[in-house]
């Protein structure tokens, strides 16, 4: 038995996770006993696509995958007049470091996602959805497979769900280990059986997506929110959250906290509440040195900024972003250079290699970090890092991965220049985490 770490059970802001923990919630029976699939039935029987879109627009829901784009607006980009098939593609690639909310959601309630998918299909006139699930998620894969089989059995997936003339089908497609598949156009390439390299836009997936057809791509959590919105109305959802960031979102808190877990919070809750209260704060005797508010791609915030709100615009205003909702907390016993270096390794490893700045820049950065950590760096290396970060971000890369790599360098240097300088100029690691510093310190002593 693995212990459930995060939100579950009744609470005002547990819109998604309220039922989590219910015995056998992952089965269709139990899910339906708690009102599951009622909204989908209503969406198919009573609601026109326009009405669903209007509810979602009214809810103010913004994508939970990373970019925070208003979901209703995104749906409206799907052209109505192109004949032929169109697809809903579910982004369940979740590979952003520090992010585990989609896994948590599906493991607890696969049907919540599937119901949301059905609603999205109805809203854009699609009959076929594809769930792109990362290959390592064996557990969620099995659960979704079982859940889809149950739905087929029950006729909810098939030619006439709930006796409506609206065929629905959901297919699973497994990824095979590539973070870039989370990027929507790379995901489509991968779904088409190609090397997952992002496409240049336009054309946007809404017009020319999977197999050249109009395609809607949404994150798991975004879609799983739909049943609640349709059941209670967009207005009710918009009661939660802040002015521009409506509703609740799931934050997976990890790293140096006492109670890591996936917590559903109302948007606008401060990170202090999330990290210090829900997640129990850093280990005894430690301080929060730095945290990533939205996955490793979000520029870092320091421990002094704990009072920042989870509001997406507030985060953007102070130079970070809500991102994927993965909150990584690091305490003051750890070295920022080492952490940044580890993340750069990640971005270099996951760079698809299509566009030049990301391919070359991230690799160059890794080699520069290696030199810094080996105690062979000088002021030049800080200049190189600065140059690399400048040419990675600002939309110069084909997709957001390059920007993310740039932000890691940029934000950590910005907040911890002193620590970087200690490494580069004085060959000292203030936390003593980097090997060379230990060696040199002993030598000096």
């Amino acid at each position: 038995m693995v212990e459930l770490r995060g939100s579950h059970g009744q609470a005002r802001d547990h819109l998604l996770t309220g039922l989590f923990g219910t015995y056998e919630l992952h089965t269709l029976d139990v899910y339906r006993r708690h009102g599951g699939y009622e909204t989908l039935a209503r969406a198919l029987r009573e609601l026109e696509p326009e009405q669903i879109q209007a509810e979602v627009k009214a809810s103010g829901l913004r994508g939970r995958g990373g970019a925070g784009f208003p979901t209703g607006t995104k749906w409206s980009f799907i052209p109505k007049d192109i004949p032929g098939p169109r697809y809903v593609v579910v982004n369940f690639d979740e590979a952003e470091p520090g992010t585990s909310k989609d896994r948590y959601l599906v493991e607890n309630s696969p049907h919540l996602l599937l119901e949301g998918i059905g609603i999205a299909c109805r809203a854009i006139g699609s009959h076929q959805a594809w769930i792109y699930i990362r290959g390592e998620y064996d557990g969620p894969y099995g659960m979704l497979r079982a859940a889809i089989a149950e739905l087929r059995q029950a006729g909810i997936l098939g030619d006439r769900p709930f006796d409506c003339e609206y065929a629905l089908d959901i297919q699973l497609y497994r990824g095979h280990g590539a973070y870039i598949c989370g990027e929507e156009t790379a995901l489509l390439e991968s779904l088409e059986g190609k090397r997952a390299q992002p496409r240049s836009r336009p054309p946007f997936p809404a017009v020319k997506g999977a197999w050249g057809r109009p395609t809607l791509i949404n994150n798991v959590e975004t879609l799983a929110t739909l049943p609640w919105i349709l059941r209670h109305g967009g207005e009710a959802y918009a009661q939660f959250g802040t002015e521009k960031s409506k509703g609740t979102r799931m934050l997976s808190v990890s790293g140096n906290v006492q109670k890591p877990g996936v917590y559903e919070v109302e948007l606008g809750t401060s990170f202090r509440t999330v990290i210090m209260e829900l997640a129990g704060g850093p280990p005894e005797g430690r301080e929060v040195k730095v945290f990533w508010p939205g996955g490793s791609s979000a520029p870092v915030l320091t421990g002094s900024m704990l009072d920042t709100s989870t509001d997406l615009d507030e985060l953007a205003r102070i130079g970070s972003m809500g991102g994927s909702g993965g909150v990584i907390v690091m305490d003051d016993s750890h070295c920022i250079v080492k952490a940044a270096s580890r993340l750069l390794q990640f971005y270099a490893h996951e760079s698809c290699g299509k566009c030049t700045p990301c391919r070359v820049g991230s690799n160059w950065a890794v080699r520069t970090f290696d030199r810094i950590q080996a105690g062979r760096a000088s002021a030049v290396d800080m200049q190189i890092l600065d140059r690399i970060q400048a040419s990675l971000q600002g939309g110069r890369c084909l997709c957001g991965l390059g920007d993310s790599a740039g932000w890691v360098i940029d934000s950590t240097v910005k907040h911890f220049r002193v620590e970087y300088e200690a490494h580069c100029l004085r060959r000292l690691c203030p936390t003593g985490e980097c090997e060379f510093a230990r060696v040199e310190a002993t030598a000096v002593a």
Partner: protein, 667 residues
């Protein structure tokens, strides 16, 4: 394969539709049944934009890089190539565009829009490009002094014009094993590669093959042939022209000369009947390189490997330089006299090289009408196809076809570039593809092709069954046909193609194969008995088209080199190669194109028209004496054969391209 049924319907009058409709319903509805709405004929709608303050109006849909080029503003590009779909991968073409998001954007993927203002020389754009160039050099080996690309290398030129003036790179470089033979003719240097993916995209998009691919990802990605096996495609050489750096080089030309050491002329390929335009590169009177010379009406910028690599014989040390009589050196005078005497009164057979010129054919037609009336004529590599009947489909018209029928032809082997043109028409322009052939073809790579396997009744019958097929009803149809399995079947095949064409208003393209086969047919030189059976004298102009008959007692070998198939000829005449010959070819579509020989046929070599006239006079055809030069022959040929009318007005040789564009500012 799921659509095996769809592709392999046997002799069904409506193969595609029936099989498609019967496809199992479990599959999600897919694009196959939904053709993209066909692009209407391009209306010349103009869009005005400004680039760096200069106004320009260009056709709607034009990409910014092209518009800028027209203004003489260079936006550097690596991944962009005008024949490939834009991908925006290298990020070298970043510009500032307003209105638009507040970030630099790729000019290679952005089409013009009314009122667009583009700036290529702002601080942001200039440094963005310089940064990319710096990145391209981070791992580059900088072995420019020994690089074949040096001198015509965009990486060098762009860095010179757009890059940082000083190097800021002090890190060790990534290394790859190098150079790697991709095939006996192509070498790959992965350290020089900038991963613009032009080569793999070309392979995938244009040639429809994936034997060249990218392995791994990120900084460790590299170009490779599948499992390291040699490339086999007949279109592989184009990747050398495409590569913007010295990563893909020709092993045939490798370390041969610096590009600026060569002279070049724009000529026509002599390998087959398509008539692709080529650039021939000369150095010290040797032909050292052949590259494509883009002509959108014919080759669309591509040539096949035969044209690109099969030129080395021109420089062969064993080239014949001197006439020989019975194996002994002789004067031209003595040799030609011996030929004239040897031919007289004998049952003569003539074997022609595939790339015989129109001018030579004209003179031959005069000889065949006079002293050599009884001769049989064979031609190297020709088909059984009869002379063209009426107007034939032109290669560029393939682009406008809504459906293309390929009947009894393996275009990949027979007329390679026509194969690529069909692929373009199908993949990029949305034509439907119907194949009638017993064999599996290269064109079968198109998943939506309708492949009809002829039954017992043969190709012609299968073609006739297509009459009324629904795919042929929606617009211009092109019928491309080969020669069929044998001479009798060939006549029927041609008739069937004509009938099918008549039924749907299609045009027909008979695929002649020998370089100037069509010229030989319209001049009436070939078309008579196609063999040398029973001949006791044989004049071999070029390699023997068929094995020399045992009855031959007098053999003349008139060729660039002596070949085993020539046996031991009585007279040997040295011939000029295509790189030295003046003249013209008639391509399979009937286009007359002129050769621009880059090499001089140095003494004692003589022009073939000169020799034919001389021989004619010796055979009693005195009027051939009045031709003092090739222009007169061309005019005479134009007057005699309407199909060769162009010969009277040879176009002026093409001017060399404009030198490099002026660059945008340096950082």
């Amino acid at each position: 394969m799921p659509d095996q049924e769809a592709k392999e319907t046997r002799q069904s009058p409506q193969p595609a539709s029936t099989a498609q409709a019967a496809a199992p319903g479990d599959r999600s509805p897919d694009r196959r049944t939904q053709p993209e709405p066909a692009a209407p004929p391009p209306a010349p709608e103009l869009v005005s934009i400004s680039i760096d303050g200069q106004e320009i109006s260009v056709a709607k849909g034009t990409l910014l890089v092209e518009a800028a080029r027209r203004l003489g503003i260079e936006i550097p590009v690596f991944c962009y190539h005008h024949k490939l779909d834009p991908v925006g991968a290298c990020r070298l073409c970043l510009c500032e565009i307003s209105p638009g998001p507040p970030k630099p954007q790729t000019a290679c993927t952005t089409p013009v829009a009314p009122g667009m203002k583009v700036q290529t020389n702002t601080q942001l754009a200039v440094s963005a490009r310089a940064d990319i160039l710096e990145y391209e050099l981070v791992n580059h080996p900088l072995d420019c002094p020994v690089c074949d690309k040096g001198g015509e290398c965009p990486l060098q030129d762009y860095t010179f014009r757009h890059g940082y003036p000083t190097s800021r790179i002090d890190a060790p470089r990534l290394h790859f094993q190098k150079p790697i033979p991709l095939s006996p003719r192509i070498a790959l240097d992965r350290e020089r590669c900038v991963l613009c993916y032009r080569c793999t995209r070309y392979y995938d998009e244009i040639a429809w093959e994936q034997e060249l691919t990218t392995d791994q990802r990120g900084a460790h990605a590299f170009i490779t042939s599948q499992f390291g096996e040699p490339l086999h495609s007949v279109f592989s050489g184009n990747i050398i022209d495409l590569c913007p750096v010295g990563a893909l080089t020709s092993r045939v030309w490798r370390f041969e000369s610096r590009p600026w050491d060569m002279n070049h002329t724009f000529s026509v390929c002599s390998r087959c009947s398509v008539g692709c335009n080529v650039t021939l590169w000369e150095r010290r009177n040797q032909l050292v390189r052949v590259t494509s010379h883009e002509n959108d009406a014919i080759d669309d910028g591509w040539i096949c490997d035969r044209g690109r690599f099969e030129y080395t014989e021109v420089n062969a040390p064993e080239r014949l330089r001197q006439p020989q009589l019975g194996g002994q050196p002789a004067t031209w005078e003595a040799a030609l006299q011996a030929v004239a005497e040897g031919l007289k009164g004998r049952r003569l057979g003539i074997s022609l090289r595939r790339d015989v010129t129109n001018e030579e054919l004209y003179l031959l037609s005069r000889l065949l009408a006079g002293p050599l009336k009884e001769a049989r004529v064979a031609m190297e590599g020709r088909t059984y196809l009869p002379p063209p009947q009426g107007e034939t489909l032109r290669i560029e018209e393939l682009d406008t076809c809504k459906a293309i029928v390929v009947l009894g032809a393996d275009t990949e082997k027979e007329t390679p570039i026509v194969n690529l043109r069909i692929k373009k028409a199908v993949k990029k322009l949305g034509a439907k593809l119907l194949l009638i052939n017993a064999a599996h073809l290269d064109l079968d790579r198109w998943p939506d092709s309708v492949h009809i396997r002829p039954g017992e009744a043969g190709l012609a019958a299968a073609a006739r069954q297509l009459i009324g097929h629904e795919l042929l009803q929606s617009g211009p149809v092109g019928i491309v046909h080969g020669q069929g399995p044998d001479e009798t079947a060939s006549a029927d095949l041609v008739a069937a193609a004509q009938e099918l064409a008549g039924s749907c208003g299609a045009k027909v393209m008979p695929l002649y194969q020998a370089t100037n086969e069509r010229g030989a047919l319209v001049t009436g030189v070939v078309g008579r008995p196609d063999d040398l059976v029973g001949c006791d004298a044989v004049l071999c102009f070029g390699p023997p088209a068929v094995p020399l008959p045992a009855s031959a007692r007098f053999v003349v070998a008139w060729d660039t080199v002596l070949r085993p198939a020539h046996g031991r000829p009585d007279v040997t005449l040295p011939a000029l190669s295509f790189a030295e010959t003046q003249g013209s070819y008639t391509s399979l579509e009937g286009r007359v194109q002129f050769l621009r020989p880059p090499l001089e046929g140095r003494q004692p070599l003589r022009e073939s028209w000169d020799l034919l006239c001389d021989l004619g006079v010796r055979l009693g055809l005195a009027e051939l004496n009045r031709f003092a030069g090739i222009f007169q022959i061309q005019r005479a040929a134009a007057a005699t054969f309407p199909d060769l009318a162009t010969l009277a007005n040879p176009p002026a040789p093409e001017a060399p391209p404009r030198p490099v564009l002026l660059g945008a500012s340096r950082p």
